[in-house]
């Protein structure tokens, strides 16, 4: 199905192009918004990234390859934008810090709030893993992190969510 979609899109089929964009735009926008914290900037980055990737659509055989490339462009465009605005990018590949896993989640009431509390790179890794079903290898390719770093991030983020859920359960029991 995804192969057919890419082939149709390559041939300039507007419906296929629309579907391809619709399949990825929400996740792409969520990742960009998490990084840039500005709706307009995030929308512009996503739009430009789509144009860049769709222009080189002939190089992709299926949607999985297409999406990996798309998210890679978006992720790095976000980092570039942050750099341009002189915002410290603490989550550049070489700086995946191993930090204390204890997080203050006192005010967190549900999982959605946990997602808000996640750092952009943690959010990126978790959405790519769960929603896009990307492998560790692919996430490493997208984020330019090492496989070990991706595993650490994934584990740490899951742990954060687990802690928050446990805390919430304890509060509910009281």
């Amino acid at each position: 199905m995804s192969k057919e979609l890419v082939i149709k899109a390559k041939n300039g089929n507007i419906q296929a192009l629309n579907k391809l964009i619709n399949n990825h735009k929400e996740l792409a926008f969520s990742i960009a918004l998490k990084h840039l914290k500005n709706k307009e900037d995030a929308e512009d980055i996503v739009q430009n990234s789509f144009i860049i990737v769709l222009e080189s659509l002939k190089n992709f055989r299926n949607e999985a390859k297409f999406s990996t490339w798309l998210y890679k462009i978006i992720y790095h465009e976000c980092l570039k934008e942050l750099k341009r605005k002189n915002i410290t990018v603490e989550y550049l590949p070489q700086f995946v810090e191993v930090e204390n896993n204890e997080v203050n989640f006192e005010n967190i009431l549900n999982l959605k709030n946990i997602f808000k509390a996640l750092k952009p790179n943690e959010y990126t890794v978790i959405v790519l893993f769960y929603l896009e079903e990307k492998s560790i290898n692919e996430i490493a390719l997208i984020t330019s992190l090492s496989k070990a770093n991706v595993k650490v991030l994934l584990h740490r983020t899951r742990l954060k969510m687990q802690q928050a859920i446990n805390k919430k359960n304890i509060q509910n029991e009281r």
């Binding site: 192009l17 735009k25 969520s30 929308e43 996503v46 144009i51 222009e55 978790i126 859920i165």
Partner: protein, 101 residues
């Protein structure tokens, strides 16, 4: 914690793009860049490949035929080597003709 819960919540938590005509603008931009692509007679990659192959043939031939080549042959050899590059000139002429028409 079940992965299913995370998956569903993540899906619900995705943000929507509010920009009007988001898809249309992308497709419009793509069509514009397609139109901007200049028509060519010969593929650039093939020209470079041709240039390399011809150069190698000329080099091998010159080494095999005579030890000391007269200047005339050297010039002919160079001309043969750069012959695929004339295709780039043909491409340019073709583009100019199309633009003018």
């Amino acid at each position: 914690m079940s992965d299913k819960i995370i998956l569903n919540t993540l899906r619900q938590d995705l943000k929507n793009i509010s920009k009007e005509n988001f898809n249309e603008k992308i497709i419009h931009q793509l069509n514009l860049s397609k139109k901007k692509e200049k028509p060519i007679l010969f593929n650039q990659k093939s020209i470079i490949k041709g240039f390399i192959i011809v150069s190698i043939f000329v080099l091998i031939a010159s080494l095999n035929i005579v030890e000391k080549l007269p200047q005339q042959f050297v010039i002919i050899g160079i001309l043969i080597c750069i012959s695929p590059l004339f295709l780039i000139v043909f491409n340019k002429i073709h583009q100019t003709i199309i633009e003018n028409s």
